[in-house]
Symmetry: C2
Subunit: 130 residues, 2 copies
Amino acid sequence: MNHSRQRDLIMDYLSGTKSHPTAEEVYENVSRVEPNISLGTVYRNLKLLSDNKMIIRIHTQDGVDHFDADTRDHYHFYCTKCGRVYDLEMDMSATVRKLVREASEVTDCRVEGCMIYFHGICNNCEPTRG
Amino acid sequence: MNHSRQRDLIMDYLSGTKSHPTAEEVYENVSRVEPNISLGTVYRNLKLLSDNKMIIRIHTQDGVDHFDADTRDHYHFYCTKCGRVYDLEMDMSATVRKLVREASEVTDCRVEGCMIYFHGICNNCEPTRG
DNA sequence: TTAAAATCAGTAACCATTACTGATTTTAAG
DNA sequence: CTTAAAATCAGTAATGGTTACTGATTTTAA
C-alpha cells in the first residue's frame, strides 16, 4: 500500500473524529479539503484501510456501514432513531472470553470471536439526564 | 394481515428448517411447491413477518440477511467461510442483562439491548472433531 | 531520470432489497 | 351464496450502498 494524499486525508479525518461517520459523511468532509476527491475513491480507501486493520468497519442495522479509526478493543452503541454510533468505554474482554468459551462448548464449529452491538435511543434523540 | 397461500408456504418452509435461509433460498425452496411465486413476494412477506415479530431477521457480515422462524431467545454463529448460520443453544440471558446494565453505566444513552453474533469457521468447512 | 506499480476521478455495473403496477384473491358484511 | 372493499399477488422497475472498470495521473524505487 503506497501513500496517497487522498488516503491520508481520509485517515486524518477519521482519526480526528469520534462520530463514526459513514462513507458518505467521510466524502462530504474530506471534500472540503480536497474538492476533487470522488466518492469511489472514498469507498475504495475505506475498504483498503479496513482490510488492512487500520480502521474498523461497523455494520449497523440500517445496512449502512460506519467507520472508526480507533482500533482499540471497545464497543459501540447504535441509536435506532437517528442511526448515530457512539463509543462505549467499558472493558468487556473477560466477558467476551467467557462467552466464546461457552459458545465453543455448545457447537462443533470453531468459534473465533463475537461481535457485541448495543442499541437503544441516544441522549440526543430523547434526553433523560441533565 | 390476512392469510395468503404464499405467506403460509413461506412460514411453513421456515418453520421446518434450521438452516437460517436467505430470501433467495426461501424463494428457491417455496418455488418447488408454488412455482408461480415471485421473488418480490418472498421479500415482501419476509419483511411483513419479521416486522410482526413472527420470524427473526439475522444481519450477517456479507450483507445478506438470513431468516429464522425460531423466535425464542437464542444466539447465532456465522461462518466467515461459507456464510452459513447456525444456532447456539446456550442461555445467555443473565450475561446479556449484566452487559446492558454495565453499558448503561458508561453512557447517557438509553440502552435497550444488545446483539451478540458469534463467528468463526464451521465444522462443515474445516472439520476438527469426529 | 524513468519506467513499472499504485492510485486517481469519473462513471458504469452489481446486487440485495423495496416500491410500483394493474390483476387476482381473500375477507366479511348483507 | 353475493359482492364490494381490502389485501395480496406476479412481474418488473427503481433504490441505494458498494464495488469494478476506464484511461489518466501520481508515486515509488532503481
